[in-house]
């Protein structure tokens, strides 16, 4: 798989179809890291294997990456969904980013939103069994147990904001976590400050989270943050029929009024 | 007993508030504790951390001259959380002050020289301190020229003092506003500070130029001075970077290896040229 990818990227770079390619590379001790390839020779460092599950969509808006020119990206399903969601929030334009993705062992490339949507529609987006298992466990808890569970997790948080930085949807230049007029949440990483931060983060991602799990994977304190946002996906889907990152022109469920919207969950 | 907590402010009381311009105010602050007033001393060019309890701290220079004791003054523009709250305080209210921090204008070294002060916008406060310091010991200096520019007539700060300086025979004051910022009654110059300065044909002979203003103004003023023959060591400025501690510890105000809060804020152009572009 790596060879096919390398050849393709070499081609794209020498044809000047793209100026920079974001892909998976070999990291420290078997880790996978994002690499940025600008010359056909450097494309040799690209790899693709079953460990390459990371989405690099959070780099699409980084100024230094954008400054490099036209971007190509090795895109997992989650990265493609992130692209669609970013498009629906007017952060990237059609034909701006060239995504490479595997469709039944065939390396496809497209910058066309309609094509990417069609591919995504053909794929299964269910939550993985082990993720579902954790959610079920959480949902089976009493409110008190769930509260205690999260309090214990929040306690670990050091407010490094790696979760935010890794999230493709957390692109606000000035996150409300740091907004001080008014001061929405305490800046300090203490009990209240941590809880407020996570609740606010989850709320802002409700209906926008594309379920890539990056937040939990990057957390140096191993907090299963994605459970917070996963748990908001289902209600939004059930109540509004919306699932994030499937359409480039979707409207945001929580800011769209429809007369047929249910009101049963409003207290 | 000496206070060991370097973060504990002096408790201050607001003695006087002057509205300078839209959103710009000057506070005169007196020490609540007479002992503090006694022990406190500073020198022109230094700054401090002003706090509104419950909101936080904000960094401004001390805008009064060290030749006047018993109080300090600060001038600020209402812009963020702390300055917004500051603006709502009234005479008699308490607030905090930590300082003085940073280095000083080397006024001692300037004795016997001509002084040319060039300030733009809200950058007059640091300049006001050093101007008054020099005017309070006027006999030590030769010609004193002040060039001050703001966006519009309305934005000029220290209007009373400008008038006072204008009327003094031993000060030459030139005020200017940006094109479009003038009113029908305006008698000063119209034009940007660097252009007006150029037209003034400043004489570098035995002269020190002190420049304060927004980064763009400074950037365009230096070449004018250079063209007029000013050497780097004849030019001084003060830098502003975001600060928290004022003590060289919190790590955010540095320009290259230099901490603005400790090694600055006053720099000669010679020193400035050695610093990377990080301000």
């Amino acid at each position: 798989m790596s060879d096919i990818l390398i050849n393709k990227v070499k081609q794209l770079l020498s044809d000047k179809a793209i100026d920079i390619f974001i892909g998976h590379g070999e990291g420290t001790g078997g880790r996978i890291r994002p690499i940025f390839v600008r010359t056909p020779e450097d494309a040799e460092q690209l790899i693709f294997n079953e460990n390459c599950k990371q989405s690099w969509a959070n780099y699409l808006l980084k100024p230094e990456v954008k400054a490099a020119g036209k971007i190509g990206m090795m895109a997992t399903k989650h990265a493609l969904r992130a692209m669609m969601q970013l498009a629906s929030e007017f952060q990237i334009k059609d034909n701006e980013v060239l995504a490479l993705y595997w469709d039944n062992n065939e390396l496809k490339s497209s910058a066309d939103f309609k094509e990417i949507e069609a591919y995504l529609a053909s794929q299964n987006h269910d939550i993985l069994p082990h993720e579902q298992e954790m959610i079920d466990k959480l949902n089976a808890m009493t409110t008190q147990e769930r509260w205690d569970f999260w309090q214990k997790e929040y306690e670990k948080c050091i407010k490094c904001y790696a979760c935010r930085s890794a999230c493709p949807m957390c692109y606000c230049h000035h996150c409300a976590a740091e907004g001080n007029q008014p001061q929405w949440i305490p800046v300090a990483s203490h009990q209240l400050g941590n809880m407020d931060w996570h609740l606010m983060r989850a709320m802002h991602l409700s209906g926008r989270c594309i379920n890539c799990g990056a937040c939990a994977k990057v957390c140096p304190m191993h907090i299963p943050l994605n459970l917070l946002t996963y748990n908001l996906i289902t209600p939004i889907q059930q109540e509004f029929g919306a699932i994030a990152g499937m359409k480039h022109d979707a409207t945001y469920a929580l800011s769209t009024f429809k007369t047929e919207d249910k009101e049963n969950f409003i207290l | 007993m000496e206070n060991k907590n370097i973060y504990e402010p002096y408790m201050m009381r607001i003695a006087k508030i002057t509205d300078e311009a839209p959103f710009v105010k000057t506070f005169r602050l007196e020490f609540v504790n007479p002992q503090d007033a006694e022990n406190f001393s500073f020198h022109t060019g230094q700054f401090g951390e002003y706090s509104v309890y419950g909101e936080g701290e904000s960094t401004f220079c001390i805008a009064s001259p060290h030749t006047r004791k018993g109080y300090i003054e600060c001038t600020f523009r209402q812009a963020g959380r702390v300055t917004g709250e500051l603006a709502s305080l009234e005479v008699g209210d308490s607030m905090g002050f930590r300082g003085p921090y940073g280095n000083i204008f080397p006024v001692e070294e300037w004795k016997g020289k001509n002084l040319l002060f060039i300030a733009g916008g809200i950058a007059l406060p640091p300049m006001r301190s050093v101007i008054w310091t020099c005017l309070d010991t006027r006999e030590n200096f030769k010609d004193v020229t002040i060039l001050y520019g703001a966006k519009s007539v309305n934005d000029l700060v220290y209007k009373h003092e400008l008038k006072e300086w204008e009327e003094r025979p031993d000060v030459k004051l030139v005020t200017t506003v940006d094109p479009g910022g003038e009113t029908p009654e305006w008698k000063g110059e119209v034009g940007f500070v660097p252009t007006v300065l150029d037209n003034m044909k400043p004489n570098p002979e035995n002269t020190i130029a002190i420049v304060c203003g927004p980064p763009v103004m400074i950037k365009f003023t230096f070449p004018v001075l250079e063209k007029a023959g000013f050497k780097d060591e004849q030019i001084y400025t003060t830098l502003e970077n975001r600060m928290k501690c004022g003590l060289g510890k919190c790590g955010r105000c540095n320009v290259g290896k230099v901490f603005v809060c400790k090694d600055g804020p006053v720099f000669s152009r010679t020193q400035l040229k050695e610093l990377p572009d990080e301000y």
Binding site: G27, T28, G29, R31, R33, P34, Y59, K62, P63, E64, V65, K156, I158, C160, Y161, A162, S165, A166, H174, E178, P186, V187, A188, K217, V218, P220, M221, H222 | N3, K4, N5, I6, Y7, E8, P9, M11, Y53, G54, E55, G56, E57, T83, D93, S94, G96, P214, P215, N241, R242, K244, C245, G248, K249, C250, G251, R252, N254, G256, P276, E278
Partner: protein, 340 residues
């Protein structure tokens, strides 16, 4: 003080921990918590992690906690009362089983915080620490202490150091007066060293990968090498994980919290990697892109600190690289700079 060298049976460790705990209730040691190894107060020897390389977070939190109250006040219109928190009563705290790179990390923090105007909070907390380190007999791909002047048996900053040697025995080095007073608690378990022990032979092998003086020279020279910093930091996502796990990163923020009646001023961990760290109120940002912030991180540790404080701001513990979400491996980056 001239170090005192003793030998102890590894099996006595449990007794030592009990004795320490009896005398110092605030006895911290590495504790395993699922994927994390955290430094926590332990109740007994069994709480201590069996097999750990390093704690996930550094030990700096014991002297420089992530939230430190630096001022208390009551708010009543017209009558504000402020009070500095009492720093004279921080409890004596034993750090047991930390690594040499953590112990020596206090050198940087002390240089920054104590400096000319000492920060009482750090100073008083640090003075109350009793540091009992364990030399490393293993290391991983991220470790590079030997490249920045340390080594797996570095005793700097420790009051006592234990090194596992043969025959289920440990070498005990009593390094300071403080350490001596503590060792008196278990002097009955210590025996004299009849023949010299080659400590080196029992330490992990951590090869030197670069010459730190080259790194210092080259970072200092490379400020304007924009492409170097851009290329190194293209994958950096600007979080604070590296700074927060680092034993020497000391940058902080100051924030007020209040509830109408009373409030406190807090000193909080901050990171030069955050985009808002240097943002002016005017919107101007002297370090407006990540590459400049990455440059600041390295310049601060390898150029500014060596020049001004005479310390390198890095212990080579590799925590930043382990914690980094995108595998920014600082060892690789420093090697690249050394080879410029």
């Amino acid at each position: 003080m001239e170090p005192i060298i003793k030998i102890i049976k590894s099996a006595s460790l449990a007794t030592i921990v009990d004795k320490l705990k009896g005398r110092y209730p605030r006895l911290y040691a590495p504790v395993k918590k699922q994927e994390l190894v955290e430094l926590e107060v332990i109740n007994g020897f069994n709480d201590i992690a069996q097999d750990y390389l390093l704690t996930t977070q550094s030990v700096k939190k014991l002297a420089f906690p992530r939230v430190e109250k630096i001022l208390d006040y009551t708010l009543q219109k017209g009558n504000i009362q402020q009070q500095s928190p009492d720093t004279s009563n921080f409890p004596e705290t034993v750090l047991f089983g930390i690594r040499p790179c953590d112990a020596s990390g206090f050198r940087s923090l002390t240089a920054i915080f104590n400096g000319d105007k000492p920060d009482e909070f750090y100073k008083s907390r640090y003075e109350k620490l009793i540091i009992i380190s364990f030399a490393c007999n293993k290391a991983d791909a991220y470790c590079f202490c030997t490249s920045v002047g340390g080594n797996p048996g570095n005793t700097e900053g420790s009051d006592i150091q234990f090194t596992p040697v043969d025959n289920d025995e440990m070498l005990v080095e009593i390094l300071t007066e403080k350490g001596k007073a503590v060792a008196d608690l278990f002097s009955d378990l210590l025996s004299d060293c009849d023949k010299p022990v080659d400590k080196q032979a029992y330490l992990a092998n951590v090869p030197v990968v670069f010459d730190v003086n080259k790194v210092i020279d080259n970072t200092t020279k490379s400020f304007n090498n924009e492409m170097l910093w851009i290329n190194q930091s293209l994958r950096c996502i600007g979080c604070g994980a590296c700074a927060f796990v680092c034993p020497t990163c000391a940058c902080f923020d100051i924030q007020d919290e209040q509830n109408m009646k009373q409030g406190a001023r807090l000193r909080l961990w901050d990171s030069c990697g955050f985009s808002l760290f240097t943002l002016h109120t005017s919107g101007h940002n002297p370090r407006h892109i990540q590459s400049h912030r990455w440059r600041q991180r390295l310049m601060h540790k390898f150029s500014y600190m060596p020049e001004q404080l005479k310390v390198v701001g890095c212990e080579g513990c590799g925590r930043c690289s382990r914690a980094c979400p995108v595998d920014m491996n600082i060892k690789e980056h420093l090697l690249q700079i050394a080879e410029l």
